[in-house]
């Protein structure tokens, strides 16, 4: 797994409706990807014990979850490779939300 690129997603939320509420937290992209990788391994292990018959829904839902996690890992990889930038910055009346890659 590549450790290049910029490693943190910074979430910032500010609500100013009478009371000023500010929430700001970083999320390490690398750690998040590692967690997803581990979860993928866990899913692979679980799928061994789940019947493969298409008539049963559980096998399909595990495959669906696996596909979604793979997609999420690919998206995280693409998010972090282009230097520090502001992915999202929304301001409306009294509420502002931003997601920055740093």
């Amino acid at each position: 797994m590549s450790n290049s690129g910029h490693g943190f997603l910074w979430f910032r939320l500010r609500v100013n409706n009478g009371r000023d509420i500010r929430i700001c937290f970083p999320l390490s992209i690398h750690v998040f990807r590692e967690l997803l990788d581990s979860f993928m391994d866990l899913l692979s292990l679980i799928s061994v014990f789940v019947p493969k018959s298409p008539a049963l829904g559980s096998g399909k839902s595990i495959r669906t979850a696996g596909e979604l996690i793979r997609a999420l890992i690919a998206l995280l990889g693409s998010v972090s490779g282009d230097g520090p930038y502001d992915l999202l910055d929304i301001e409306t009346e009294g509420v502002s939300v931003s997601i920055n890659i740093r």
Partner: protein, 148 residues
């Protein structure tokens, strides 16, 4: 030249047939021609320009709304690749409703659309540039989508 030598070596070693080698050489030649043409004086600067971000900006003149989204082109292409897989998991009844309205999500090649947008038709980097009156907020809203 080194690629041509590699292909010839592969033929010599029996890894590929002579016909396959010819196909590879033709493909190599076809790939080299546009690259050579790109160095010519008639080439449009937009065609060879590489964009880094797709930017979406929504703003109103009375400052009630301000939205800035910067999507890296790499993320956009990944979304294109992923979108095709994700649409396979749209519930059957939702798919039927869309098909009844003439939308067949399975037949849409998202990666191809994004590729066309980025490489083919972008002489002007402004994809969308719209101004509209928002009656609810009594404001002039500007929407701009462009690549940079």
């Amino acid at each position: 030249m080194s690629d041509q030598l590699k292909i010839l070596e592969m033929i010599e070693n029996g890894q590929i047939t002579a016909a396959e080698g010819m196909e590879l050489l033709d493909a190599l030649k076809a790939g080299a021609e546009p690259a050579a043409a790109g160095t010519g004086a008639n080439t449009s600067p937009a065609a060879i320009r590489s964009y880094k971000f797709l930017k979406i900006k929504v703003s109103s003149d009375n400052k009630t709304v301000n939205v800035n989204v910067n999507i890296p082109i790499r993320l956009l292409t990944t979304i294109g690749e992923v979108a095709g897989k994700v649409t396979a998991y749209i519930p059957a009844d939702a798919r039927r409703q869309m098909e009844a309205k003439g939308v067949d999500v399975a037949s849409i090649d998202y990666a191809k659309i994004i590729e066309e947008v980025l490489s083919g038709t972008l002489e002007d980097p402004n994809i969308v540039d719209v101004e509209a009156w928002d009656e609810e907020h009594k404001a002039l809203v500007k929407v701009r989508i462009y690549v940079e």
